[in-house]
């Protein structure tokens, strides 16, 4: 079949882009459009909020796993950063973890306060590492 495939695909691209836009529509109009598609908007939004939370937690765990790997590498090299929190009190560590992680920390680590102080200090090292990486002050050893 001889069709102008590229052109037709471009039209399909533009069409679905146009039909999906909600420029200058009110929230009610957008919701009505979605309901018009036979979608239970309320259920979908509840589901997507939970999904976002799950993804956020997974991303945080991934970032911490990455930071942990870096921390272990640094520990192998005797980096001064590691062990920094061994003299801190439990309350200081917890406060700093919450400061670095925001309100979602409690969700990522539901049993945070039930952990031992050493384990909490280890998590804080990971978080500090992730924080420094994000701030562009991270590992310069690689």
């Amino acid at each position: 079949m001889d069709i102008n495939r590229k052109k037709y695909l471009e039209i399909l691209d533009t069409l679905t882009d146009a039909l999906g836009r909600s420029d200058e529509q009110s929230t009610e109009e957008v919701l009505a459009d979605i309901r018009d598609e036979g979608i239970d908007v309320d259920a979908a939004l509840v589901r997507l909020k939970k999904v976002r939370l799950n993804i956020a937690m997974d991303a945080k765990r991934s970032a911490l796993d990455f930071a942990r790997e870096k921390r272990l590498k640094l520990a192998e090299r005797g980096h001064e950063f590691i062990g920094k929190f061994s003299d801190w009190t439990r309350e200081q560590i917890l406060a700093r973890i919450k400061e670095l992680s925001g309100p979602e920390a409690g969700l990522a680590y539901r049993d945070l306060e039930a952990m031992g102080t050493e384990e909490m200090a280890s998590i804080l090292e990971d978080l500090e590492m992730a924080h420094r990486s994000a701030m562009g002050e991270g590992d310069d050893s690689e």
């Binding site: 399909l12 836009r21 200058e24």
Partner: protein, 186 residues
Amino acid sequence: MLKYAVSRAKMFKWLGDEVEPEALVQEAIARAYGIGTRGNYRNWDKERCPDLGDFLIGIIRSMTSHKAEHEAEFPSESLFNEDGSAKDSKILKSCDETAGPSKPKTPEEEIIENENLQAFKDELDSLADGDEDLGMVILCIEDGISEPRNIADATGFGKDKVNYLLKRLRRKLDKYNPKRKRQSSK
């Protein structure tokens, strides 16, 4: 964002594929968080795009665009249950084994896709012939104009009329039935 995903998912439906709109939203969120399929990541430049919703829509647009096949690796089905919990503990890492629409097509599937494309174009032409106002909007779309305000500028229609015509176009196209490429994978 959900409305946009619903619309973009139709592109695949009209070509004979099946993509769940929520799977697109999930993948966009995952990419924004840095854990998209095959490590896909989109950095949110808040200065260039201050609105998070617009940013996520931009991700959906680029990953579903036929021009960006390298980005078009995403699962076609939701990886989460109805209650929002993950189907797999690895969540999006399991996408790597998921056959999405970017999976290489068989010759038969290519034939079906081309037939669907032609039939779809015929359907658009028929709608344009049967309704002058709708025809003007379709002409804009064929010229690559997708933003309602630009369609309004090009046609001289008010924005409300353009939105109404787009809704009418969407409802008419919902009646179009493409050939399916594959039997349901469920």
